[in-house]
Amino acid sequence: MEVTRTKVEGDLRVRQLKAQQLLRGELEGEDLEREVEQRLLFTRFEVAQNWARKNALFPLGFGLACCAIEMITVIGSPRNDLSRFGAEVTRFSPRQADLLILSGRVSIKMAPIIRRLYDQMLEPKWVIAMGACSSTAGMFNNYAVVQGADKFMPVDVYVPGCPPRPEALIYGIMKLQDKIMGNPGMGWRERYRAEGTEEIA
């Protein structure tokens, strides 16, 4: 996030007094201008909007199979919990949620329902395919499982694992946050200087 900022002068007690006066409206004229200038952040509107969006993701309460148990552990367990990212509020109505975590195997009977849920969500919306079964079909290469959720809906982040550890899901959500901010990590392309080799579909 690009910010320009000037440092506030004085030690802590002086700064606190000045801030108190500013809030109470007791400063006038030049004093007021100087204090306000020292506390301003400058950035672009889109950046601020993305920052707000990434820190307040509302996941849709949606779980299909075993990965759902790990997802509930991420949301509900005190050890790895999603509240630290501001995403603890799971809304159960798709109109109120913006993150769909597809946790579990997608069977052919369930696929149109998931598509309908995704269509009901309002923009901006993101999808995390959690686990091997929703990214590709995992170990289920058969008649009853859709071979990957990206066959019928766009997916932003794939989290591998069967089921992925809660830490892996949190890493996936952090990657999604980077993507929302606009600079998704390039991963191995950075390390091997392979910019320009991405496939754009």
Binding site: T73, G76, S107, N141
Partner: protein, 412 residues
């Protein structure tokens, strides 16, 4: 009309009673508590026919997580079937693997060494505790006691740490193999398990003090969802539901398997068969499981942790350097797998939800010809219409929570 408006508003309100919409009112409303719903414990679709708020009929529609596991198993070698079967009832993964391994060991006529049996019992009971903890976490979330969600998930993490120590993964560890377990428990496992037992012995009474003396919880669970034991038996329901109704049937006591006859434990049985009894039976089962784990740790025998029959189990790594037969056995087992003589059998274990049975048909090759799992949730779901009839919608949600269906097992 103008005369009516002269009457003050409060008096007009009081004269409107609901008596005309009484018992004779026959308008039934069928709504769809759809596959995506916070309270259905997975993707279960319920076509509910309501009269006002009272449930008159429920039709469960399943199949939204059908993964064709049974068909996939026909294409895999026997030891590769174990991860597939584990993912059916995805909260009690060790029980699925146990039923399958018992069936295949019976077909092979294979004897499981005693240490392996006791290790299996320890892991099965730990999984029972983990499953009940998750049940109480999500069940209480449905009923409204949200604190139990945090407590249940927190303690479940402790049990999953133990699984990670022994099996390498929190979930779906492929720890049970045909003939025993895949690896011995590491040093430090016993101490951590004892610490876990001590912690749980303090925490389970805390859960009871939160829920059991809570007036709202008692009013919501006592007296709701009563089905008499004969009806449950007609529906084929087993497990804590049947025990809560007063019928003491537990496969660990009736047909002991894998060394359960060596342990001294009680089976909690309820009296009335309402949701409160189901809740208490499961919480008491957790305490009994702690007893079993403690006895198993105290008396764990020495010995091999997997059968020494090299035609079925992989030889230990150090033998591969010295013995040619071990190398050949290893090669055959890894590439082709062991062959099972033709036959069919059915083996059942007592999972946290009821009787989990596995039917295996072998045709002499290295891949099973048919694997079918009799899942307890599939059968228990048939009792749901009976449980819900005549109750309010809120009590219906309590019934589903106390029924503890796991849709992975229902749909397979």
């Amino acid at each position: 009309m103008t005369e009516a408006l002269d009457v003050p508003y409060r008096e007009r309100e009081r004269s409107v009673t609901m008596q005309s919409i009484g018992e004779e009112h026959d308008e039934l409303l069928t709504i769809n508590i759809g596959p995506h719903h916070p309270a259905t414990h997975g993707v279960l679709r319920l076509l509910t026919t309501l009269e006002g708020e009272i449930v008159r009929d429920v039709k469960p529609i399943i199949g939204y997580v059908h993964t064709g596991i049974e068909k996939s198993c026909e294409d895999q070698q026997y030891w590769k079937v174990i991860p597939f079967v584990e993912r059916m009832d995805y909260l009690s993964y060790y029980f699925n693997a146990m039923a399958f391994c018992m069936a295949v060991e019976r077909l092979l006529d294979e004897e499981v060494p005693e240490r392996a049996q006791w290790l299996r019992v320890i892991h099965l009971e730990l999984n029972r505790i983990a499953s009940h903890l998750f049940w109480i976490a999500t069940g209480s979330l449905d009923i409204g006691a949200i604190t139990m969600l945090w407590w249940g998930c927190r303690d479940r993490d402790l049990a999953l740490d133990l699984f990670e120590m022994s099996g390498g993964q929190r979930f779906h560890t492929r720890y049970f193999q045909v003939g025993g377990v895949v690896e011995d428990i590491p040093p430090g496992f016993e101490e951590m398990t004892r610490r876990f037992i001590k912690t749980m012995r303090v925490r389970i009474p805390q859960y009871l003090s939160l829920l059991d003396r809570n007036e709202i919880w008692l009013q919501r669970t006592k007296g709701t969802g009563i089905v008499p034991a004969e009806d449950l038996l007609a529906f084929g329901v087993t497990g804590p539901l049947l025990r809560a109704a007063g019928h003491p049937w537990d496969l660990r006591k009736a047909t002991p398997y894998s060394g359960y006859e060596n342990f001294d434990f009680n089976v909690p049985v309820g009296t009335v068969g309402d949701n409160y009894d189901r809740f208490r039976v499961r919480v008491d089962e957790m305490l009994e499981s702690l007893k079993i784990i403690e006895q198993a740790l105290d008396g764990l025998p020495e010995g091999p942790y997997i059968t020494t029959n090299r035609k079925v189990a992989l030889p230990p790594r150090h033998e591969l350097a010295t013995s040619m037969e071990a190398l050949i056995h290893h090669f055959k087992l890894v590439t082709e797998g062991f062959r099972v003589p033709p036959g069919e059998t059915y083996a059942a274990v007592e999972s946290p939800r009821g009787e989990l049975g596995c039917y295996v048909l072998a045709d002499g090759s290295a891949k099973p010809a048919r694997v079918h799992v009799r899942d307890p949730s599939f059968v228990n779901l048939q009792a749901l219409p009976e449980m819900a009839r005549g109750h309010l919608l809120a009590d219906f949600i309590t019934c589903i929570a106390m029924l503890d269906p796991i849709l992975g097992g229902v749909d397979r």
